[in-house]
Symmetry: C2
Subunit: 179 residues, 2 copies
Amino acid sequence: MNYCGHCGAPVILKVPAGDTLPRYVCERCATVHYLNPKMVVGAIPEWEDKILLCRRAIEPRAGLWTLPAGFMENAETTAQAAARETLEEACARVEIGEMFTFINVPHINQVHILYRARLLDLDFAAGEESLEVGLFDEAAIPWKDIAFRTIGLTLRQYYADRKTGRFDFHASDLLLPPK
Amino acid sequence: MNYCGHCGAPVILKVPAGDTLPRYVCERCATVHYLNPKMVVGAIPEWEDKILLCRRAIEPRAGLWTLPAGFMENAETTAQAAARETLEEACARVEIGEMFTFINVPHINQVHILYRARLLDLDFAAGEESLEVGLFDEAAIPWKDIAFRTIGLTLRQYYADRKTGRFDFHASDLLLPPK
């Protein structure tokens, strides 16, 4: 950030009075610009013993497989975000179920949230951000070609829970591996 | 938003190519400025049969009572945010436990997340944003003077669960009441 979005003057990085962290502060209108983590929300669309995955058409991780997910928008709920992303990336209609994984990813200032979901019909197709979309049973999951660590973690947890016959809510932190 | 934080030129509100929603887009450098919901994270600090509440010194809702909570910062986890806010607002050290409530508040573009937490000692005090801080048993909770609906909901859920002897995770949406 170089300029104030409110008045257009340059910003400087400083700790505002009464604060503890450096912020971008406008030198003219004194607006403090806070930067906060974003939520990436998606679904695990289920159809019988299969789940729906999308192969990414865009960076990051173009060509690799993921669950339909993306940045939550203002004015929607997390469940609405999960359904919207599934419609956009896989042209698929789902009924959103329980929140399944909640994963902090602090080194990229994100929280990833995945919901279990029931695919309502088989009339899905690749959306603009997907190369292809398909249903996979556990043996067919392309484990070596999963786009993101949070998605791999969610899928492993999903199949681990399914074997127990009970799906729990799983909150965790995905930290950078030690160098 | 009036100006581009990257280059300082005016922004206009338009639907970018391939997008579905209006965004602030820079007329000079074409940067798209996305606005996303923020997470407000806090704790329910427990000491024997009491919990710790803070009376707010600042707006909104100055003078009313709340659980220690605030905006999650970049580079931290939700549990770290809950512990930090408890330290800042109540000068209190806690061990963060399980996520308890997750509440979408889409009309203000926020998600509120409250954790159960164990207060580690009684050496608490009002932080800069609090007028006073105190321990309350259920009968003493100032129900009519709770600052935010999500905090009231969390407290009611907390005492309902406590009566059953088992604390669950509760995800919900707090929508605007119909006019």
